[in-house]
């Protein structure tokens, strides 16, 4: 290891190679409660430097764990015990904006919100909007195929990736895709790396598709005395032929937590709220759609529906949704946020069964999420310092996954597998799929140095 560190320092310079215990602690965690110290953290500033790091790692058979802003919720960027934590945060340049073709080429470490602000100033739009867009990078979003509220209408991160620059496990640099929208020459390697969580290669640059920015947006919030009614309304809206930009659900525990933390004046006597947004370039159509949404909500049991009349009111409606996840920390020292998806018609049943798990184990589960695409975030609140509680949490997670699979859904919609969902992969995918995935991993990373111990069991 010492030899490797000396080599890294020689090539990258000492400023980009961090070995103190303090620095290693700083690079030991992500947005979960998991933690592992790397031997060294490196901060390369170009694809060439990343390639050198991976080459040296390959020579020394040392694990490399790529990392953006480490806000992931599945443990994917937690270092292997020891090895190299490879931080891409300093590779944050915009390399080329092609306004005519509506594409942008960026380095992997650019913060998603910074990219969004940059293109929106120019009338363009990069839709994928993970709630962590201020503290996550495009590289991390691609590696986990991040979603977000807007993905119901606009699709997930992977739908906007036209091409990638990837450093392979032997240090070679692979270019995939390109500006052509249709491209069937060879296998779709771009898609292979999307969602690969750093296990197949290190994404260093991306060519992204942009669209024209929607000119008009309307947002509504509906309060439902019954959670079942709220869940049913989701499908009723979509069945009516309306595709809202977002369709978000929050249950009563989520509402209570937000209200406790933020004092927004949310109703505490309802079982659920939906936040629904319509957007587009035709103002009349957007307004007509939100009015139809409001009507459908009322017909399905909403007690009140509020439509934002100004940008401020809209921001206010969103503040509630954006604060959910963090607000939970005030309730209990730890939360485990799951990310299951189920077919739309199964949402009411999924919610009912998860509530039942919560009651049976005696630990609160907060449910919120992108109900419009069947992606729910049941969050278990607990105190990890109490081993008995942690044991209960582990069983509860298993049962939540069972619910998802029994209802023909799956383990994760947008957070990824990392380490936290790895034990459930076999059940979710079956032996054939796992075997194919293992062969892909072996083909691309025969030494198993790229983010080992993640994704595949």
């Amino acid at each position: 290891m010492e030899e490797l560190i000396v080599k890294l320092k020689e090539i990258l310079g000492p400023d980009k190679v961090l070995t103190s215990l303090e620095d290693r602690i700083a690079y030991s965690y992500d947005g979960t409660f998991a933690q592992n110290l790397p031997d060294v953290a490196v901060l390369p500033e170009s694809t060439d430097e990343v390639a050198v790091v991976v080459q040296i790692a390959a020579e020394h058979r040392v694990p490399v764990v790529p990392r953006g802003m480490a806000s992931g919720l599945a443990g994917a960027s937690i270092p292997f015990s020891g090895g190299i934590a490879l931080s891409l945060t300093r590779m944050n340049r915009i390399l080329e904006l092609d306004e005519g073709n509506r594409t942008v080429r960026v380095e992997a470490g650019i913060v998603t919100a910074d990219l969004q602000a940059y293109v929106e100033e120019r009338g363009l739009f990069y839709p994928p909007d993970p709630s962590s867009n201020r503290q996550s990078t495009i590289g991390g979003n691609i590696a986990c195929n991040a979603g977000g509220p807007r993905c119901l209408k606009y699709g997930v991160t992977g739908d906007y990736v036209l091409g990638l620059t990837v450093v392979l496990a032997d240090g070679r640099v692979l270019e995939t895709g390109g500006k052509a929208i249709k491209n069937v020459v060879g296998y779709d390697l771009t898609s292979l790396f999307v969602g690969s969580e750093g296990t197949l290669g290190v994404i260093t640059e991306a060519l992204l598709k942009l669209i024209a920015k929607p000119q008009f947006v309307r947002t509504a919030r509906a309060e439902f005395p019954s959670l079942d009614d709220a869940s049913r309304t989701v499908n009723a809206i979509l069945s009516a032929g309306i595709v809202p930009a977002t369709l978000e659900l929050m249950d009563e525990t989520a509402i209570e937590c937000i209200e406790e933390a933020m004092h927004l004046g949310l109703p505490l006597d309802v079982e659920a709220m939906l936040i629904i947004e319509t957007d587009g370039s035709d103002e009349e159509a957007v307004v007509r759609e939100i009015e139809a949404v409001a009507r459908i909500c009322r017909e399905n049991g909403a007690r009140a529906v509020e439509v934002a009349q100004s940008e401020e009111e809209r921001a206010e409606l969103w503040r509630a949704r954006r604060s959910v996840s963090p607000s939970l920390a005030r309730r209990a020292p730890n939360k485990l946020g799951e990310d299951i998806t189920v077919p739309l018609s199964a949402i009411p049943e999924a919610v009912r069964r998860i509530k039942e798990i919560s009651a049976r184990y005696g630990l609160p589960i907060v449910i919120f999420g992108h109900a419009g695409d069947g992606n729910l975030h049941p969050n278990i609140l607990f105190d990890k310092r109490d081993p008995e509680q942690w044991a209960r949490v582990e069983s509860m997670v298993g049962e939540i996954f069972d619910v998802a699979l029994e209802l023909e859904g799956t383990l994760s919609g947008e957070h990824g597998v990392g380490t936290l969902k790895r034990p459930y992969m076999e059940e979710a995918l079956g032996p054939v799929s796992l075997d194919v995935q293992r062969r892909i991993k072996q083909a691309l990373d025969p030494l198993n140095i790229l983010n080992p111990g993640k994704v595949l069991p």
């Binding site: 303090e22 602690i25 700083a26 201020r134 503290q135 996550s136 963090p326 920390a329 005030r330």
Partner: protein
């Protein structure tokens, strides 16, 4: 909430979401996790849980590289008062003998000389010597208001202008005020944030007695750090009510202007300015409106806000004694803020803090950015009718 009450295990409430990285000036500068609030809290936790058993100078450096600007506390969704936690960790580092040398020296100067520059404390009124007339507040034994000048404006010639302008405005407004002169001691804030709150208790007691002896109902400071420390820490450190109010000069001036006690020139020029919220005054002290009320009261002044303003303001780089510990980093952060200011199109950056004014001015000069940097007291003085009219 006063920043003085904090739960001992508050670091456990950090959920490591990373949102603080998006507003932390030191992280934004280096893009290195170790320079982030999340990492600083993680290191504290590692010390508590035994992962980091023996803190070293390098451990301590992570806390002294922090500006204590509080941007992380403001954005923290879990409600962790991060800046306060980090300030307390500085104190722990100091107790372990890990206070960095420049800061040890700074605290020793304050103990010995009662000011941060280490010169004789009787020099505290040198700024008044080249005024056309000596300020009426000098030597006053009883007064309604005490103007607490603060070390920087009193002893750093570049910043004399702040004290000079403010006193001139007080004279025009007919305010009954006193200056403490050499009886003014450093407020104690720099010592406290270096980790030496106990060292500061004597100076706190001394200053409070000096104000009480003048029977004043009000202490006014032009320095936001003095203001914050007097207002929020003094009563707690003494364990008693002060018996007088503490306000910042912007609050005092806004009231004077709105009461019509400061006659303005009729022929004021049009100027576009932007306002930089000092961290100790704004985000930490809660004073956002007063400086904006002042700018609104002066005809011809148009205020354009920077994107990061009020509670979301970006530190000037001069916070947390970073300038004494890591001047290069301090300068780089100042340069970022000046570029933001220039980006608004304003030709003048107004602040309400001699330290912000100094760091921003120096950054504008070294970066060759064409904006003027002014303290708000100068803006007010420039707008007043001249004395002989």
């Amino acid at each position: 909430m006063t920043n003085n009450d904090i739960r001992k295990d508050e670091y456990l409430h950090c959920i490591r979401c990373g949102l603080c990285l998006s507003t932390c000036p030191t992280y934004q500068l280096t893009l290195k996790e170790t320079d982030s609030p999340r990492a600083r809290v993680a290191l504290l936790r590692a010390m508590r849980e035994g992962l980091l058993e023996r803190p070293t100078d390098y451990t301590a450096a992570q806390y002294f590289r922090c500006l204590l600007c509080g941007a992380c506390t403001f954005i923290c969704p879990s409600g962790v008062t991060v800046d306060r936690l980090l300030e307390l960790t500085r104190r722990e580092m100091a107790e372990l003998g890990l206070m960095p040398h420049p800061l040890v020296a700074l605290n020793e100067r304050v103990v010995e000389h009662h000011n941060i520059s280490g010169e004789p404390n009787e020099n505290r009124l040198m700024w008044a010597e080249n005024l056309p007339e000596p300020p009426s507040g000098i030597g006053r034994e009883r007064a309604e208001v005490v103007y607490f000048v603060g070390c920087v404006s009193a002893l750093f010639p570049r910043s004399y202008r702040v004290a000079q302008s403010f006193v001139e405005v007080l004279e025009r407004g007919g305010v009954d005020y006193a200056l403490l002169g050499e009886q003014e001691w450093c407020c104690g804030y720099p010592m406290a944030i270096n980790g030496g709150l106990d060292q500061a208790r004597e100076t706190i007691r001394h200053n409070v007695e000096a104000v009480r002896a003048r029977g004043a109902r009000l202490v006014v400071t032009t320095c936001p750090s003095c203001f914050y420390f007097w207002k929020h820490t003094y009563p707690v450190a003494l364990g008693e009510e002060l018996g007088f109010e503490v306000v910042h000069s912007t609050e005092f001036l806004a009231d004077l202007l709105e009461a019509g006690r400061l006659p303005l020139r009729p022929d004021l020029p049009e100027q576009v300015v932007t306002y930089h919220d000092p961290c100790d005054l704004g985000r930490k002290g809660g004073v956002f409106d007063a400086p904006r009320r002042i700018l609104a009261a002066i005809p011809g002044v148009t205020l354009v806000e920077m994107e990061e303003n009020q509670e979301g303001s970006h530190c000037c780089g001069g916070g947390g004694n970073l300038e004494s510990f890591d001047p290069e980093m301090s300068r780089a952060i100042a340069a970022r803020r000046v570029r933001q200011a220039a980006g608004t199109g304003a030709r003048v950056v107004v602040s309400a803090c001699q330290q912000c004014e100094r760091t921003l001015f120096n950054a504008a000069r070294t970066e060759r950015i064409r904006v003027r940097v002014k303290d708000i007291t100068e803006i007010v003085l420039d707008a007043l009718e001249s004395r002989d009219q």
